[in-house]
Every structure is written in structure tokens, then in C-alpha cells.
């Protein structure tokens, strides 16, 4: 005969912290936290002790001190009398400039190379394979230095453009000069009235967008397809060109001219910028090409066949069926390639392009001796750029995500 009793109220024993799965995760987390904090505290206390021993402090006041060095490629007003903060901003803008230009060109190269690698043309496909495999398997730093060497070694000095019998010629009807110092191109000069042209141009962009909506709506209602491409092209060019001539050509080009030992005027791009830009673009382009290829291959052939069965022409099949599905696969790795390109732009140091690393993390750091502050600031800026880009990626991902049930 047994009597039913209440199960013993288990009192908490210390051993449960280790053996009981209900409490063990808590124990592990507390240990991890303590370990992490201890490590952090150790590093900080070491830093404090070391800084004290060196007689230093952490102080960002140096940012307002006159920098005293020149930067050869600037987007904003800068001279050696500006302060270190402005030098850092110039460097940041230079980083963003080369990253922006690089992303555009790399996408262009990558999409073309990726599509051509899938081409039925044997020769072209092989050529693209050679391009992709050779650029993917060789360090980007080597490409940057090699491109710079080509630009400085294989091009002529400005002097070669001089005289009655010059050995070098400017390209595009005497407007672009590629020299061993840099590339000089015409620069648009905005006179009075150019505002009107710009406004008209912007208005025509809006009109193109509005027309696109109208034409889609009309197609959905009536089934008629308007000649979209021609109308949009017309909208793009005609009003702006008309405004340009009506206002009496308010935008002129300033051509670079040889004066003294170098070209003056026009748009000047140092060879360091061009070498970095081209090398990063061609290198990243090879990776993007592989992403594009993988994206297109990821769309099953049945989709194409289904689109054909619906009677869509090949180009509409590509535009309406294949591409939207391929993009879902292509975009996330594409953006992480953009991220890589932006981070690789810090290799500008190798060719002397004054980016964030060369200004804030280079000359400013060496002049002021504030290694800790400069590195922390620089890492923070890179981190913010990266987090911005990756949050853009997450936003895009969630917007195109397949709504699965």
C-alpha cells in the first residue's frame, strides 16, 4: 500500500548551475560576460597605464590644429592652412569618390563580363573566363601598383605634347590629355542661365518617370504597348538640348592647355586616382561577373520556357521574367562586393592617393603622434560606412524576399 505524496519541493542546489540544463545556459552566459569584461578591463587598464607612462592623454583637440600639409587631389576647398579635421574630411571625400566611381565601373564591367561568360560564343566566353580567373586569383594590391606603373611609365610627359612636331597627341579632338602625371579633361563651366538648363533636364527626368507610369497603366488597361524606349530617349535629350540653345549656350567647356611644364585648366585627375579606380573596378568586376553568372544560372530554365509559352519575346522574357528573379540572387553579394571595394580603397596608400587612410591615418597621425585617436576615429568612420552599406543591403533583402507561407 502506497500513499500518494507530493513530490519533494526541490530546493536549489549549487550543483544545478552546472548540471541542470535549465540553469546551465545562465552559467555559461555569466562566465562569458565576466570573461569578456575582464578582457576589456585588462586592455583598458593596460592602455591607461601605458599612456600615463608615455605622458600622453586621449585628446581630440589636435583636429582643430593647422595641418600644414598639402593634398594634391581635393574635392573641396583645402590648403595647408586648413586644420586636421578638414584634411580628414578631404580624405573621406576622396575615399567616397573612388569608391563611388569604382562601384559604378565595376558593376558595368562585371555585368558585361558575367553575361558574356555565359554567351554561346565560344571565343568570347573563354576570353571572359581568362579575365575573371586571372583577376580573381591575383592580389588587388598588385593590380593597383601595376596599373599605376603602366600609367606613369607607358604614357608621355606633358612636354611631349609641345611644339610643332609633338610625339604625343591629345585624344578626342584635342580635349583629353593622358600624361604621366595625370589625365586632363575638359571641365564644364556653368554660366548665367545654366540653372534653367539643369532645371529643364531634371524636369525631363521627372517626365520620363511619369511617362513610364502612364504607359504601364495604359498597357494594363488596354493592352497597347507604346514605343517606350524612343519616347523616353526623346524626353531625355530634346528638352535639355532645346533649353541649352534657347538660353544661348550657357554651359561651356574649359579645355586643358599646356602652360609651363604642365597642363593647366580643365578637369585634372591624378594618375593615382585613375590607377586606383581602374584597378579596383577591374578587380571587383571579376568578382561581380561571377555573382552575375551565378544569379542568371540560378533562374531555372523552366522560367524561360514558361515565358516563351506565354508568347513573350526574348528581350521581354529577360526583362520581365529572368532579370527580376536573378537580381534577387545577385544583389546581396553585389553589395558585399561594393563593401569590399570601399574597404580596398584604403590601399590607396600604395599609389599615394590621399584617401582617409593617407590623411587622417597617415600624415596627420605621423605629424601629431596621436596614433590611438587617429586609428580609433578612422576605424569608426570605416565602420559607419560599412554599416550604412550593409543596412541598405538588409533593407533591399527584406523588400525582395520571397513571401513564403
Amino acid at each position: 500500500m502506497t500513499t500518494l505524496t507530493d513530490p519533494n519541493k526541490e530546493s536549489f542546489r549549487l550543483g544545478q548551475l552546472i548540471y541542470d540544463t535549465r540553469y546551465r545556459s545562465m552559467t555559461i552566459q555569466v562566465i562569458a560576460l565576466i570573461g569578456f569584461m575582464a578582457l576589456f578591463a585588462w586592455l583598458i587598464s593596460n592602455t591607461v597605464v601605458n599612456l600615463h607612462a608615455l605622458g600622453q592623454d586621449i585628446n581630440f583637440g589636435f583636429l582643430t590644429v593647422r595641418s600644414g600639409y598639402d593634398i594634391n587631389q581635393t574635392l573641396i576647398e583645402y590648403s595647408s592652412n586648413s586644420n586636421h579635421l578638414r584634411a580628414a574630411i578631404v580624405g573621406l571625400l576622396n575615399t567616397l569618390l573612388v569608391a563611388f566611381l569604382g562601384c559604378i565601373l565595376a558593376t558595368f564591367i562585371g555585368v558585361i563580363a558575367g553575361v558574356l561568360r555565359l554567351s554561346k560564343n565560344w571565343l568570347t566566353a573563354r576570353l571572359m573566363t581568362v579575365y575573371i580567373e586571372s583577376f580573381r586569383n591575383i592580389p588587388v594590391l598588385l593590380w593597383i601598383i601595376a596599373f599605376f606603373a603602366v600609367l606613369t611609365e607607358a604614357t608621355s610627359a606633358p612636354n611631349a605634347f609641345r611644339g610643332d612636331d609633338p610625339t604625343a597627341f591629345m585624344w578626342l579632338n584635342g580635349s583629353v590629355a593622358v600624361t604621366n602625371r595625370g589625365t586632363y579633361a575638359p571641365l564644364p563651366i556653368w554660366h548665367d542661365g545654366s540653372v534653367v538648363v539643369v532645371v529643364v533636364f531634371l524636369a525631363s527626368l521627372v517626365a520620363i518617370w511619369a511617362f513610364g507610369r502612364y504607359s504601364r497603366k495604359r498597357q494594363e488597361e488596354t493592352g497597347d504597348i507604346l514605343p517606350n524606349l524612343w519616347i523616353k530617349l526623346g524626353l531625355f535629350f530634346v528638352p535639355a538640348v532645346l533649353a541649352y540653345f534657347v538660353m544661348g549656350r550657357p554651359i561651356t567647356l574649359e579645355y586643358p592647355e599646356l602652360q609651363g611644364f604642365n597642363f593647366q585648366g580643365g578637369l585634372q585627375m591624378r594618375n593615382s586616382l585613375i590607377a586606383l579606380w581602374l584597378a579596383l573596378s577591374v578587380y571587383t568586376g571579376a568578382f561581380i561577373a561571377e555573382n552575375v553568372r551565378a544569379g542568371i544560372l540560378a533562374v531555372s530554365h523552366g522560367q524561360t520556357e514558361a515565358a516563351f509559352a506565354l508568347g513573350l519575346r526574348p528581350n521581354r522574357t529577360m526583362r520581365l521574367v529572368i532579370l527580376p528573379q536573378a537580381l534577387r540572387v545577385i544583389i546581396p553579394p553585389l553589395i558585399s562586393q561594393y563593401l569590399n571595394l570601399t574597404k580596398n580603397s584604403s590601399l590607396a596608400l600604395a599609389v599615394g592617393y590621399m584617401d582617409l587612410r593617407s590623411t587622417l591615418g597617415g600624415i596627420t597621425l605621423n605629424q601629431t603622434g596621436r596614433a590611438l585617436e587617429c586609428m580609433m576615429l578612422m576605424m569608426l568612420i570605416y565602420l559607419i560606412i560599412s554599416l550604412l552599406i550593409s543596412s541598405a543591403m538588409n533593407f533591399y533583402n527584406s523588400s525582395v524576399e520571397l513571401k513564403e507561407r
Binding site: 552546472i18 568570347t124 600604395a350
Partner: protein
């Protein structure tokens, strides 16, 4: 019936005709070209453009390459030979490679003169060469599972052996570092009966205590009793391809396990562990490697106890490993996420605990899925070893600058770049081919 038919028609062929050859446009090279190169106006344009591109590239490079000069002592001599032999035609001067290749491979590693002045490089650089040869023995059982499994013991010992061969010094130092790992294993076994958690903690803390307090004195003590040592070599002297291999391999070997741990941490239910891992991964992935390397060379002294000063190569290896392991963690997390949820549930329903299910069910599959990504990370890491030139370590690319700065070879560019590029290309391309082979071999799905 057949008779009737024979009367109604004038001619019936009673022998088989020999097979006619297809028309010329439908056979052989012409058919292939029509299908693959000129199947439409667009394809034809592509072909012509491609041929033009290939022609432009080859017409510039081929004569330069064919005329190349392989034996000379300086660029001036190269140019003299070019004018005398090739009539001043553009010619590559690969003599710079034949003259300086030992530097490009070994950096400024001291030459071992004990084998005589005219010994071949095999004996002049006997220690790195032995280390390099043994590398293949150590790697082979990892790459091909058909080799005897006992060889893996040698693979485990290899890093310590290679360190001793390359850096020299007392043999007891690497042995005593190795003893730390043995100690971790012993601690894990002894404490395993108490609890897995305690055992893991013990296995983590014991070697740290050993390395931090005891390893160096013990090694010195044994050295004074039983001296076995090689001539020590300073880290600054190690360079060229050797330093790339050392940093690259160390990074590869260390970043994979750390990456696995970080990926598990990021996927885990433990909030604090997860936050630490996410913070670490996102920080490392958000900054360029070059800033981490500068931190290693400029700032690490701030973060460590006063007076600590450890080797620059070790610092670089640590930074490169941390950098690569963050990327590795993301790759492996992708593999973990790609695994069907049923696998996790199946492991749970078998009654396996967390570590057993990870070890036996989850990780083998997740790692298999992420092989291409992992190898891409390896390739990226190996290519990133070139960045060490910014902090004063002379890898191959750094030596290119040094050689170009010398008076003999001032003005040589592309020959050196081509050599460095070729070396990297061979290493990286063979890695990617190996990963494709491995992927096919591990392919167990029925297609």
C-alpha cells in the same frame, strides 16, 4: 506483290547507298565555327571583337616575351644584350628574376654557408627548404583521405617543427608551447568526469596559465640541461614568398576553428554570447584589414602590459587570423542557415546533446555546404598577405619595390609583377580547383 511492284516502277535500287558526307557547312571545323562563333550577326561581331582584343594583347606581349633575356647582371646589361642580339626590339628582362629569385622566395633569410660556397640553393637555404618539403607531407593527409590516417599526427606536429626550422633557437620553446596543448587535453579528460562545462573551462584556462607563466622558464631550464638549438633567425629577415606562405597558412589553419566557434556563437540561443560574437564579427568586417595591421604595428603596445614586445610576424598572424575568422564565421553561418531544420530536429530526437549534435550531424553538413565559401576565404586571406608590405615586412610585393630601388635593376617593372602575379595565381587557382574537386567528391545527393 513484289513482282507487281517491280513492273510498275522502272527502277528499284537493291543495294544500300554509301553514306554521303554531310555538306561542308555541316561538318568539322566549319560546322563548329558556324555554331560557336558565327551563329548570328551579334555573335559574329563578338567573335571579331574578341579576335581583335586577343590580337592587340598578343601583338604587344608576345614579341616582348619571345625576345626575353634571362641572363644578365643589371638592367643596363640587359639593354646592351637587347641592342646587340634583338636589334633594340622591346624585350623582357627576366634576368632580374634569375638573379634575384632567391630574394623573392626567401627574403633576406641568412644563407647557410656550412655546405660550401658553391652549394646549390637547396643547401644554402636548407632549413626553409626542409620546412617547405615537410609542408607537403603534412598537408597531404588533410587533402587526400586515402593516405594513412596516422600521418595526421605529423600534420599536428608540423607547425611547431616548421617554426623551429624557420626561426631557429632552442627546440624546447616550441615543445613547451606544444605541451600547453597536451595539458589542455589532459585537463579536459580529467575534468570530463565532473562536467562538460568545467572540462571546457579547464581546457581553456590551463594552457593559458602554462603559456603565460611557465612555458618560457621551463623551456629555458631544459635548454640549459639538454641544449638542442639552431641558429636563431630574426623575423625581419624572413620575407618573400616564404612570409606569405607562413602568414597565409597560419591564418588558414587558425581562422577555421575560430570561425566555427564564432558562427556557433552567433547562431546560439545565449543572448550575451550571441551579442559578443555579433559585435566582434561586424566590427572586424566593417574595417579594412590594413587598419587592423596598422593597429598591430602601432597600437598593440598600448593594449598590452608595459614592457611586452612580441614579434611583428606573430602580431600580423594574430590580426590576419582575427580578420579571416570573422569572414569565415559568416560563411559557416550561411552553411548552418542553409541546412534544413529537420536535421536539427532529428539530432535532438536522437537525444544528442548540443555538442554531439553539432559534431556528428550539423557541422559536417554545414561545412560541406560552405566549402566554396571557405576556400574563397582562404584565397582572399592568402592574397591579403601582400598587405604586410605596408608595415615593413618584405613580402614578394615589398621586395619588388626594394629590387626596383636598387641601382642594378632600377627601371624594371613588369617582369617582377609578372613573376609575383604568376606565383599567386598558381597558388590561388590550385586552391579553387581543389575546392571544386572536393565539392564533387563530397557530393552525396542524387541528381
Amino acid at each position: 506483290m513484289s513482282d507487281l511492284h517491280a513492273h510498275s516502277v522502272s527502277f528499284v535500287r537493291d543495294t544500300m547507298l554509301p553514306q554521303a558526307t554531310p555538306p561542308i557547312t555541316e561538318r568539322g571545323a566549319i560546322k563548329w565555327m558556324r555554331e560557336n562563333l558565327f551563329s548570328g550577326w551579334f555573335n559574329s561581331i563578338l567573335t571579331i571583337v574578341s579576335i581583335y582584343v586577343i590580337y592587340v594583347i598578343l601583338s604587344h606581349i608576345l614579341p616582348w616575351f619571345v625576345n626575353s633575356i634571362w641572363v644578365a647582371d643589371s638592367l643596363d646589361e640587359c639593354r646592351q644584350i637587347r641592342d646587340a642580339v634583338n636589334g633594340g626590339e622591346p624585350s623582357a628582362c627576366f634576368a632580374v628574376i634569375t638573379e634575384r629569385w632567391q630574394q623573392l622566395i626567401y627574403g633576406f633569410y641568412p644563407v647557410d654557408r656550412s655546405w660550401g660556397a658553391d652549394a646549390s640553393f637547396l643547401f644554402l637555404y636548407i632549413r626553409p627548404n626542409i620546412a617547405f618539403a615537410l609542408l607537403f607531407v603534412a598537408i597531404a593527409p588533410i587533402l587526400y583521405d586515402k593516405l594513412p590516417r596516422k600521418m595526421l599526427w605529423f600534420s599536428a606536429l608540423y607547425p611547431f617543427l616548421a617554426f623551429w626550422l624557420v626561426w631557429g633557437g632552442s627546440v624546447w620553446m616550441p615543445v613547451s608551447v606544444l605541451a600547453g596543448l597536451v595539458l589542455a587535453f589532459v585537463a579536459f579528460q580529467l575534468l570530463g568526469s565532473v562536467s562538460g562545462l568545467v572540462a571546457a573551462l579547464g581546457a581553456f584556462l590551463m594552457p593559458l596559465i602554462w603559456w603565460y607563466f611557465l612555458a618560457a622558464p621551463v623551456a629555458d631550464a631544459i635548454q640549459s640541461i639538454l641544449p638542442v638549438s639552431l641558429d636563431p633567425v630574426d623575423s625581419k629577415k624572413i620575407g618573400g614568398f616564404m612570409i606569405s606562405i607562413i602568414i597565409g597558412l597560419a591564418g588558414i589553419v587558425l581562422s577555421l576553428p575560430i570561425g566555427v566557434v564564432l558562427a556557433l556563437g552567433r547562431q546560439s540561443d545565449l543572448l550575451i554570447v550571441k551579442m559578443i560574437c555579433v559585435g566582434f564579427i561586424e566590427f572586424i568586417r566593417g574595417v579594412p584589414l590594413i587598419t587592423l595591421l596598422f593597429t598591430a604595428s602601432l597600437l598593440l603596445n598600448y593594449f598590452l602590459p608595459p614592457g611586452t614586445n612580441f614579434d611583428i610576424v606573430l602580431r600580423v598572424i594574430i590580426m590576419v587570423t582575427l580578420f579571416a575568422s570573422a569572414y569565415m564565421a559568416e560563411t559557416i553561418r550561411g552553411g548552418l542557415a542553409a541546412l534544413p531544420k529537420g536535421q536539427y530536429e532529428a539530432a535532438d530526437s536522437l537525444g544528442l546533446d548540443y555538442w554531439k549534435s553539432q559534431r556528428l550531424i550539423i557541422m559536417p553538413q554545414a561545412l560541406k555546404i560552405s566549402i566554396p565559401g571557405i576556400v574563397n576565404n582562404f584565397i582572399g586571406l592568402f592574397k591579403d598577405t601582400t598587405l604586410v608590405l605596408f608595415i615593413g615586412i618584405f613580402d614578394m610585393l615589398g621586395l619588388v619595390g626594394a629590387i626596383r630601388a636598387s641601382t642594378e635593376w632600377n627601371g624594371v617593372y613588369f617582369e617582377l609583377f609578372i613573376f609575383v602575379a604568376a606565383v599567386f595565381w598558381i597558388c590561388c587557382f590550385s586552391m579553387s580547383r581543389y575546392s571544386q574537386w572536393l565539392e564533387r567528391k563530397l557530393q552525396t545527393e542524387h541528381r
